[in-house]
């Protein structure tokens, strides 16, 4: 696979076809849909983090004007054919508390749904909630992960423990012990990092609406979801509806970041209640509700040990993770730390000396699940912070230490300690490009004069080099990780009679611009104009097969499927062209949308003529089916491995603890780029989400399990005035494992950013004895850390 030269539209900064509808208010999000006669659902949520439900009396709600029905969890138990689904039982003995769309006997977190109301308006439904009487027996909350592991208070008594599972990846355990415990490593660092809980806060809260056909037997669910295809399967199983009767549609979706990669109680409630009442039922989430009723992200305590030899080469890594599952296991909750398990060696050339173990516990807080990066930002944070700690211990410059330990370009394809093969990479090139753009040497020189005794404005630069394991995923690898589904993606390419093209994709966009990118792939491949390519998606009626969008997989799996489907269509068209031109198919070239006989370019026929001939079917080769259409389901042979180096420059005010980001450089390598405009946009957004974890965001719970900052007035999603411009650049190292040479870019920014920012802050304050910094590095935290490091005598 060689680098694609931008001869066609691939590689150009084509503007997005999605934008006019979004910019004019024409686009319809789920809550914009007009559904005459729909009843509105509202959910009553537990104010307690852990409580037995003694009694629920919904009768008061029925007296509220506009209320049609009200139900407790017990009232609806007969609706469910199965419990809420978890698709990733990571171990055979994993503990998974059974739970249903509404809690029946106990509430396990603040926000757990216990009852619901149907009314003729959203306002009336919420009025109805206030008239429901619930008697709770409050129980102690379990908030702290180590406290949870102690089983002092057991959240789900039927499990007998708060521990859900322990999952190990131990490869060369004896070598690790020899290096870290037996004195084999000259240098050892042992660090603890905390991944705080984060609230994804997609700007569109969730919404869903179910439209039944009581006599036809079908049911359509509209939902602000990333995963209509997976949701269709899960809804059918959970509700006991034959799968072929279920249609799921994701209208315009206002961001997801993993938070809409789930099967949620409200989706199932809308479906069940719309069947029960025979009318459409809709629900839209309020922001405060979103903070507790939609999954949260991160939530890990990470203990990492690195050993290095006398030359500064990393020779062993040991990792212990304590993971916060929250109150229940949602769709892929237990798998999130496992996705990171392969990445704690980062971009470094590690011998087979890796000892990873993750134990995950239940806590009485909102369930966690995949949030942008899902396990991989956590892993990258730990290794990139630990690498800085090791460089400091040895007395090396952190960039020089990285360069010493990088997997070299000539080692690719590289078989890692884990047995996984890293497809391609050039870490040194990315790091050197970033160092140039960030003026790494210049900043180091300025530090000498700026960070002097008594200086209150300390300059720091932080480096983060990352690998992203993405393009989820080879189905056989997923099987080995006990994931309950595959990792393929489906595509259909259909050339219509007039040489216009329909592409059907199983990838489900929610802001990524798939329609634009997919049309570019097809345009170059078939020699048609991009505007002649229509992309159908996000509706299981038109796109029945797919595994949707998450894990930076859409282009690497879904886009490659489209590329392959184009090849199949061209193969068929070639046979028709050969029939018309009376030559062998092998004698035909196809370029620019025209078949021509090799050596006789005047003997040619355009694809448009073939398309029409395939449509009329008047004169096709014997036995050939009419129409030009091809379907491909592509199961990737490997993950893809995007990489890069980010550098952040900060100035820290030691008197106020304020961190000012002076510059941020992101050099990312996602292989070949279909649309660099979109690639840069993904990096910008991802970097700011990672920077927000480093500086601003944390879901704060009190000891009673109350979320203290569930509104956007209190949870610090950064505004434009809080964040810097970002310098983006790229190296291009095509992936050799797929036909487009692409790697994926959706999560890279988030993965690279948090360690770059914290490394910069620690670097700035290292002269004051600061060795680590908790996230978020708020002014208060930074100031207190400085005080503690300098004994209050700064």
């Amino acid at each position: 696979m060689t680098e694609v030269a931008p001869t066609g539209v691939i590689g150009t900064r084509m503007l997005r076809r999605e934008d006019p509808a979004l910019l004019t208010g024409e686009a319809k999000y789920t809550n914009d849909l007009s559904l005459p006669g729909a009843l509105h659902l509202a959910v009553l949520r537990s104010p307690y983090a852990n409580a037995n439900i003694v009694s629920i009396d919904v009768s008061g709600a029925l007296a509220v004007p506009g209320v049609v029905a009200a139900y407790s969890g017990a009232d609806l138990q007969s609706q469910w054919a199965g419990p809420m689904p978890c698709a990733w039982p990571v171990t055979a003995d994993m503990k998974n508390p059974t739970h249903y769309p509404l809690a029946v006997s106990k509430a396990a977190y603040m926000g757990d749904g216990v009852a619901c109301v149907l009314a003729t308006s959203d306002v009336a439904a919420h009025d109805g909630l206030e008239a429901i009487n619930v008697e709770y027996e409050a129980l102690p909350a379990v908030i702290d992960l180590e406290d949870a592991l102690s089983d002092r208070v057991i959240l789900h008594p039927e499990l007998g423990t708060n521990k859900s599972y322990t999952w190990d990846l131990k490869l060369g355990e004896a070598a690790v012990a020899a290096a870290l415990d037996g004195g084999g490593a000259k240098y050892v660092v042992k660090e603890r990092y905390i991944q705080q809980r984060l609230i994804p806060m997609a700007m569109e809260p969730r919404a869903c609406a179910s439209v039944p056909q009581p006599f036809g037997g079908d049911i359509t669910l509209y939902s602000a979801t990333q995963i209509p295809h997976i949701l269709k399967v899960m809804a059918a199983l959970t509700l006991g509806i034959p799968e072929q009767k279920v249609r799921v549609v994701a209208p315009s979706v206002g961001g997801g970041f993993g938070s809409k990669l789930n099967v949620y109680a409200e989706e199932l409630l809308c479906m069940a209640l719309s069947r029960k009442h025979g009318v459409p039922v809709r629900w839209n989430e309020e922001r405060g509700e979103n903070s507790v009723a939609t999954i949260q992200g991160r939530g890990q305590i990470q203990d990492i040990e690195l050993g290095a030899d006398e030359n500064g080469k990393i020779i062993a890594i040991r990792v212990r993770i304590l993971g916060d599952m929250g109150a229940y296991l949602q769709l892929v909750t237990p798998g999130v730390p496992i996705l990171g398990a392969f990445l704690y060696a980062g971009v470094y050339d590690l011998p087979v000396a890796y000892d990873f173990s993750c134990t995950s516990v239940f806590t009485s807080m909102t369930p966690t699940d995949a949030y942008r990066g899902a396990g991989r930002p956590e892993a990258t944070y730990a290794i990139e912070r630990a690498v800085d700690a090791m460089a400091a211990k040895i007395g090396m410059d952190p960039l020089a230490f990285r360069k010493l330990n990088f997997i070299r370009k000539d080692q690719f394809p590289y078989t890692a300690f884990s047995g996984l093969t890293y497809d391609s990479g050039d870490h040194l090139a990315a790091a050197e490009k970033a160092a140039g753009l960030a003026d790494y040497d210049g900043v180091r020189a300025r530090q000498v004069t700026q960070n002097v005794e008594g200086s209150t404005k300390r300059l720091g630069i932080g480096v983060s080099s990352y690998f992203e394991m993405c393009g989820l995923a080879p189905s056989r690898v997923l099987a080995s990780l006990n994931y309950s589904a595959g990792g393929w993606e489906a595509a259909t390419v259909r050339i219509l009679a007039t040489n216009k093209v329909q592409v059907v994709t199983g990838a489900t966009p929610h802001g990524q611009g798939h329609e634009t990118s997919w049309s570019m792939i097809v345009a170059d491949k078939l020699g048609v104009a991009p505007e002649d390519v229509d992309v159908l998606h996000s509706d299981t009626a038109t796109s029945p097969l797919g595994l949707d969008t998450y894990g930076s997989r859409s282009l690497v799996v879904g886009g490659v499927a489209i590329d392959m489907a184009c090849d199949k269509v061209i193969d068929k068209a070639r046979q028709i062209a050969a029939h018309q031109l009376e030559c062998s198919p092998d004698d035909l070239d196809f370029a620019g949308g025209v078949f021509s006989v090799k050596g006789s370019p005047d003997r040619s026929t355009p694809l448009a003529a073939i398309a029409f001939a395939a449509f009329t079917a008047h004169d096709l080769p014997d036995g050939m089916e009419p129409n030009l259409e091809a379907h491909v389901t592509y199961d990737p042979p490997n993950f893809s491995w995007p990489f890069g180096t980010h550098m952040c420059t900060v100035e820290v005010d030691t008197e106020t603890g304020q961190v000012e980001v002076l510059g941020y450089v992101a050099v990312d390598d996602c292989g070949n780029q279909i649309n660099p405009l979109i690639v840069d946009g993904q990096v910008h957004g991802g970097v700011i989400q990672g920077l927000a974890q480093a500086l601003f965001e944390e879901a704060v719970y009190d000891t009673d399990g109350n979320l203290k900052n569930g509104s956007l007035a209190e949870y610090l999603v950064p505004a434009a005035s809080d964040v810097p411009n970002i310098t983006t650049d790229h190296t291009i190292t095509p992936s050799p494992t797929n036909s487009l040479g692409v790697k994926g870019i959706g999560e890279a920014g988030t993965i690279g950013a948090a360690p770059a920012v914290i490394n910069a802050i620690v670097d700035a304050l290292s002269g004051l004895g600061v060795r680590d910094m908790l996230m978020p590095a708020s002014p208060n935290t930074v100031w207190k850390t400085i005080q503690a490091a300098s004994g209050g005598s700064k």
Binding site: T24, G25, V123, M203, V253, G255, H510, D680, A720, S721
Partner: protein, 156 residues
Amino acid sequence: MGVSTVQITVTVNGTAHTSEVEPRTLLVHHIREGLNLTGTNVGCDTSSCGACTIHLDGESVKSCTVLAVQADGAAITTIEGLAQNGEMHAMQKAFMENHGLQCGYCTPGMVMASIGLLNENPNPTEEEVRLGLEGNLCRCTGYHNIVKSVLACAAG
């Protein structure tokens, strides 16, 4: 249903609408549900996100901070009213040309706030744009290209 209502008239995108609304109805809900103009979005319940920003008598306002009854007699422009004769407004074009949007949910409010910003300050610096948009949250773009869009629109 026994709920008292108040009659109001608002002129939205040039068309007068007379409606009965509950006194507690927020203007954003009246626009979305009463007038079926769903381009104006709701992203929070604390007037923090700015997704519902409209122009009320020429000024950009978060329409969740105004009761519908307070808008009686007012002239309102929503995102649906910006394009003229099939041509997008210069700010809408600038957002498209600079990739100032991804999922699009904050976009109507962001565009309305940006137009309001340039009405008050036709030639802002980058810092003035960032400060001027601090009441509008975006989770996708990291603001980089939003700021670029507004500056490009100002530069004409």
